[in-house]
Symmetry: C2
Subunit: 316 residues, 2 copies
């Protein structure tokens, strides 16, 4: 398998990205290789020392970089030789099995829509975050910012996408879907969650467990927690706030350490016609390594094919 | 000053409410008294032991109780002799300076609207929660669930209400108002926060500092954080989830201990024509004591009069 990495993406690129790629290539089986997409001379200058796996690293030179603050649409349509546009083009042309970046996530999203495109039937692609559970398990929450204003049918589809992911990549049989809400009972919530509850409770496409309150976030009441991207982003960044405070105040333990984003590497864009992974802008080498391994797992699970099949079934 | 307490309200009533009232009456100056509204025989059976301040406790007997799960509107319009309806009626008739309850908050809200009413010009009364800041200060977040679906003008007014509270009760000169959002820059957010930002940035009614992300929740970037009640409720309950986990895992310290709701006692209903305080359903005696002291502070600050004046100025 060939996994493409945007070497130029992220606050600590290219040193963290290349170090992460070296860590990942050591961890992955011999048949997997990593394609480093970015400035060749910068890559070569960092590829010193560790030489055991160099034959499993390819370099694809690009001359441009889409920076963090750039407007996604403008950047994608003007920078044809950026690491993001080239990586996504290679993915589209099947020269890569997956493409991962910790760079401009808006550009990755827009670029994915323009290159590999959304799976037919997907209203809005979504991204998620992992949330460790007290019982040792892991849940996911989606969306976390890709879609800030949605209707009930979109939340319904987030549930379906999350369910397929949890089943095929996290290996959870019959994942439990929860709707993030401000009360457990039927009828609670704002207009969006009230109507989403009504459409979700009759679903035969996934196993709907009902409303889940944020006070039960770590209590393993659901494997997939569904919300609009505004709420999900608020929640995600509040976890970050707590994690940093605990670290700062030396109150870390084995459970809270699992809140560290580095452990998960990032999120695929669910609903896209290929394996595209977004990493956190502040990704360290460890996070980059885990992002690459996540790319491999998702590609192996053939996730986008599974989504395609489910949507076909669901629209027929 | 006469502060009314709903003795029947809360999961641990009447024992916790009466114990809290006894603690509060010891802490308050001699001229303050507490009016215990509820079942007289239940009250008398708990009023044993501490007799020093009994002359500052009055009992008003009521024969009915509005339970936690009851539909607010139906309960308020049918239970005319419940502790909540009687307490609010006494407040309206100036027999009380304030009324506090840890009981059915929906019934308290509806009952307040029917009895003392909203201050003219208030679109939606709001409730808040206190959030401790790393620098030792305290901020408030509103709304936390009273209003789940709002427009930009309502968020604008939440900012005004919060600003008046912070200035007059928390004694913060020129309180800094932050809009809870998913990015710091102008233009970020969902449709609601984008439009709220536009109306708030030109405000002369309060000091608008701009967007604030939930990752900065404890960094004292704003004294008053404004959001819709759905988002605020999710955020509040996530704080509860963290607090309980820290407690369970023995990771408490002086900062995180300040997340304990007991320290604050509750929230006034901002925008109501009188001092009405809502406590947490799980209120302990300490929380009840602090709820009563909060009622006293708000009534002393003459908060509803200040809101009235500000809205008069603002509508003229």
């Amino acid at each position: 398998m060939k996994i493409g990495l945007d070497v130029m993406g992220g606050d600590f690129a290219p040193s963290a990205t290349i170090e992460g790629a070296l860590m990942a290539v050591s961890a992955l089986p011999e048949e997997d290789s990593i394609v480093l997409v970015g400035d060749e001379s910068a890559i070569r200058s960092h590829l010193t020392g560790n030489t055991d796996h160099l034959h499993r690293l390819e370099i694809v030179h690009t001359s441009e970089v889409i920076k963090m603050g750039e407007k996604p649409l403008k950047a994608i349509s003007s920078k044809h030789d950026s690491s993001i546009t080239v990586g996504l083009r290679m993915l589209k042309n099947k020269q890569l099995d997956a493409f991962a970046s910790a760079g401009n996530s808006g550009a990755m999203l827009v670029g994915s829509m323009y290159s590999v495109g959304a799976i037919p039937g997907v209203i809005r692609p979504a991204t998620f975050t992992h949330v460790p559970q007290e019982n040792g398990g892991t849940s996911i929450i989606l969306d976390i910012g890709t879609n800030t204003d949605v209707k009930a049918d979109v939340l319904y589809q987030f549930a379906l996408l999350g369910s397929i992911y949890a089943e095929n990549v996290m290996n959870i049989k019959q994942p439990r879907i929860g709707l993030l809400n401000i009360g457990e009972e039927d009828g609670k919530g704002n207009l969006l969650t009230q109507s989403a509850f009504q459409v979700m409770k009759e679903s035969k496409d996934f196993y709907f467990k009902g409303n889940i309150e944020s006070r039960d976030l770590f209590k393993s009441k659901a494997d997939v927690i569904v919300c609009d991207g505004f709420t999900g982003n608020i929640l995600l960044k509040q976890i970050e706030a707590f994690y940093r405070l605990l670290q700062k105040r030396n109150l870390m333990d084995s459970f809270f350490e699992r809140l560290n984003y580095e452990n998960y590497g990032g999120s695929p864009i669910l609903g896209i016609n290929g394996t595209v992974i977004l990493g956190h802008g502040i990704s360290s080498a460890v996070a980059i390594k885990n992002m690459i391994i996540l790319a491999k797992d998702i590609s192996t699970a053939n996730l986008s094919e599974k989504v395609k099949q489910a949507l076909y079934k669901y629209s027929n």
